[in-house]
């Protein structure tokens, strides 16, 4: 067991995977010599060489498009789009090419590729460097989407994404990169599509993922002071997502709150709410409450962004609403 930062755990996962499989290559903007805009790929160039670890020009369409062609031709590319906001420029390669290649070519091609997308606010980066756009990608059949919240899961999900035969989007919350946590030995492994019970409880369930796991746990602490025991489910994986784990938790608590940093409307929470309103209808003793960002772009100023991002207090409010 060692204490490492979230970003270092991803780095370790990348390095361990590359050491085990020479078909893995990494490319993206400033990922090689500079070590990545957030330092996540630091040291990989020195260790694995310039053939396998490459800086690209600022070409988001070609980065992901080339990953598609590389994956179809024997490599396992891992690419980084510096901020998730810039994935707008890669959408054809992701949505029309990567997501559909297996299906549309009748299973002739596997696309073992990983696209790393740092998302999220909290660093006053403004409307074009802070968004959580994961719901766009979970909506596309053929893509998988994972979003780790802990150091251990950062390692495990990165390894799982790389080992997966399908295109996997790794959504990494920027505010987590510097957070320290335990990286267990032997090194952890997690299957994509399995949730984690971050905290057990009997009175209400909070379903969350990514950086909001921390907020949800803080909310659960606050509620516990009033004797309300909240179960926190960290989805870890958004497509596929662990419907049975959420349903099982709902069957224990009968109250459901879904919290994410992304805009509330039409988000990941909407899908979970819709499914639970259907398959979990008989379990529900209160309204399903969503806690997400308001329907506005991410604002820049400290006061504005602080109010924009969902926090523990708002999750507490949500839990109280469904308990009322």
């Amino acid at each position: 067991m060692s204490e490492v930062r979230f970003g270092q755990a991803i780095n370790r996962a990348l390095a361990d995977a590359m050491a085990a499989d020479e078909n893995i290559v990494i490319f993206g903007e400033d990922v090689a010599a500079p070590g990545g805009p957030f330092g996540v790929t630091r040291g990989l160039l020195d260790r694995f060489g310039a053939e396998r670890v490459r800086d690209t020009p600022i070409s988001e369409a070609a980065i992901v498009g080339a990953a598609v062609g590389a994956a179809m031709s024997g490599l396992k590319p891992i690419v980084e789009i510096m901020f998730m906001d810039f994935v707008t420029l890669s959408m054809d390669a992701l949505v029309n090419q990567a997501a559909k290649a297996r299906f549309m070519f009748g299973g002739q091609y596997a696309l073992p590729m990983v696209v790393r997308l740092p998302h999220g606010g909290g660093i006053n980066a403004g409307p074009q460097h802070s968004q959580c756009l994961e719901a766009w990608l979970t909506h596309v059949p053929g893509l998988k989407v994972a979003c780790p919240a802990t150091v251990s899961d950062a390692y495990a999900l990165t390894r799982a994404a790389i080992a997966d035969p399908d295109p996997v989007i790794l959504v990494e919350n920027k505010s987590l990169y510097a957070v320290k946590g335990a990286l267990p030995e032997p090194l952890p492994s997690v299957a994509i599509g399995t949730a984690d019970i971050a905290r057990p409880g009997r009175d209400a369930t909070i379903v969350t993922y990514g950086a909001m796991r921390g907020m949800a746990l803080a909310a659960a602490d606050m509620l516990a002071k009033d004797g309300v025991e909240t179960e926190v489910i960290d989805l870890r994986s958004l497509q596929p997502w662990d419907e049975s784990a959420v349903l099982a938790s709902l069957a224990r608590t009968h109250r459901l709150v879904i919290a994410h940093e992304a805009v509330e409307a039409f988000g990941v929470g909407a899908e979970i709410a819709a499914r639970m309103a259907d398959v979990g209808f008989d379990e529900l003793d209160g309204p399903i409450v969503r806690v997400g960002a308001p329907f506005m772009p991410v604002p820049f100023a400290k006061e504005l962004e602080a109010r924009y991002r969902p926090d523990a207090a708002r999750i507490v409010e949500g839990v109280r609403r469904t308990l009322a």
């Binding site: 020009p57 062609g69 070519f105």
Partner: protein, 323 residues
């Protein structure tokens, strides 16, 4: 390498006539309602597909576009499974999920036709990256139209290929039209100048002269294999039919398209005759192509409808393949 790889003019004729007969049959099947959706034919452009693909080996990879029947067949795609696919049958190479705009065959390095203009360029660049990293000795090729030169990803792809000296051949089929608009109204630049500005050596050939296309492709493929980095080949050619089958073509004169003296098949046949090739050998190419197409269509008609559940299961790899 060049001499060993070069195809005989009769081989090129056979490939072109196969593409022509296959596409004319597709046109008929489409008109008769046996081919669903919509199809883009490359009638008049067969010299490009045949000339370029004859310079490639089966381990070389190929990305194509919406007008990709010729590219696929020239790369060696199985003719029966080609018709099965375009007629929407389970036995098609894509199990009836792709159709005309998505024919692909992993066995011959065919990375797929593509319904998105310009999308094949970065895919070929990535495929070339794989060849470079894996030192496979193979190269990647991509066919695209003049219209794709207006897509932003063209620049990104040229730039990346050039910076990394990737083994990729960019082939622009300039047929003078993007859908219903002439290239002159769509593209400010000269195609070769676009490549040259990215430090990619560029050549332009008469795409309706299959021998010229083939000769030039052999040279460029050789240069690429020797580590010279990417190359660009513009093939000036003619889109004889509409943008898609059923296109009423109100936007142009029929004569603009169908100048028969430009037809790449007729040109090669006249050339072979002048060179003393016996007429029966020349005529055999079309006859044999018709026979193969007849047989393939017969087979395709007996294909079965794809099962919905099988399609639904194939969105992701089977879970036992996952760790």
């Amino acid at each position: 390498m060049t001499a060993a790889n070069s195809s005989s003019p009769l081989d090129l004729l056979r490939t072109m006539t196969l593409i022509r007969e296959a596409e004319l049959r597709l046109a008929q099947l489409f008109a008769d309602g046996e081919v669903p959706g919509f199809i883009h034919l490359s009638v008049g452009q067969e010299g490009v597909a045949a000339g370029v693909c004859a310079a490639l080996s089966s381990t070389d990879t190929l990305a194509s576009n919406h007008r990709g029947h010729g590219h696929a067949l020239a790369k060696g795609l199985d003719l029966e499974r080609f018709f099965l696919e375009i007629m929407g049958k389970a036995e098609g190479m894509c199990q009836g999920r792709g159709g005309s705009m998505h024919v692909a065959d992993a066995a011959v390095g065919m990375l797929g036709a593509n319904g998105i203009v310009g999308a094949g360029l970065p895919i070929a660049v990535g495929s070339a990256l794989a060849h470079q990293v894996r030192k496979s000795g193979a190269i990647a090729t991509v066919f695209f139209g003049d219209g794709a030169l207006a897509e932003g990803v063209m620049h990104e792809s040229f730039n990346l290929a050039s910076i990394w000296r990737l083994p990729v051949l960019f082939v622009c089929e300039n047929n003078g039209w993007s859908e219903f608009s002439p290239t002159s109204k769509q593209l400010a630049a000269d195609p070769c100048a676009l490549a040259l500005s990215h430090r990619i050596a560029a050549r332009s050939v008469d795409g309706n002269d299959v021998l010229a296309v083939h000769e030039m492709a052999l040279v460029l493929v050789d240069e690429i294999r020797e580590g010279g980095g990417p190359r660009f080949l513009e093939c000036r050619t003619t889109r004889v039919r509409g943008h898609f089958e059923g296109d009423p073509q109100k936007y142009r004169e029929a004569a603009d398209a169908a100048r028969s003296e430009d037809d790449p098949i007729g040109r090669l046949e006249r050339r072979l005759t002048a060179d003393g090739v016996p007429a029966p050998d020349i005529e055999a190419a079309t006859r044999e192509a018709k026979r193969r197409v007849d047989a393939a269509v017969r087979r395709a008609r007996s294909g079965t409808a794809p099962a919905f559940d099988a399609a639904l299961r194939d969105v992701y790899a089977p879970s036992e393949a996952a760790p």
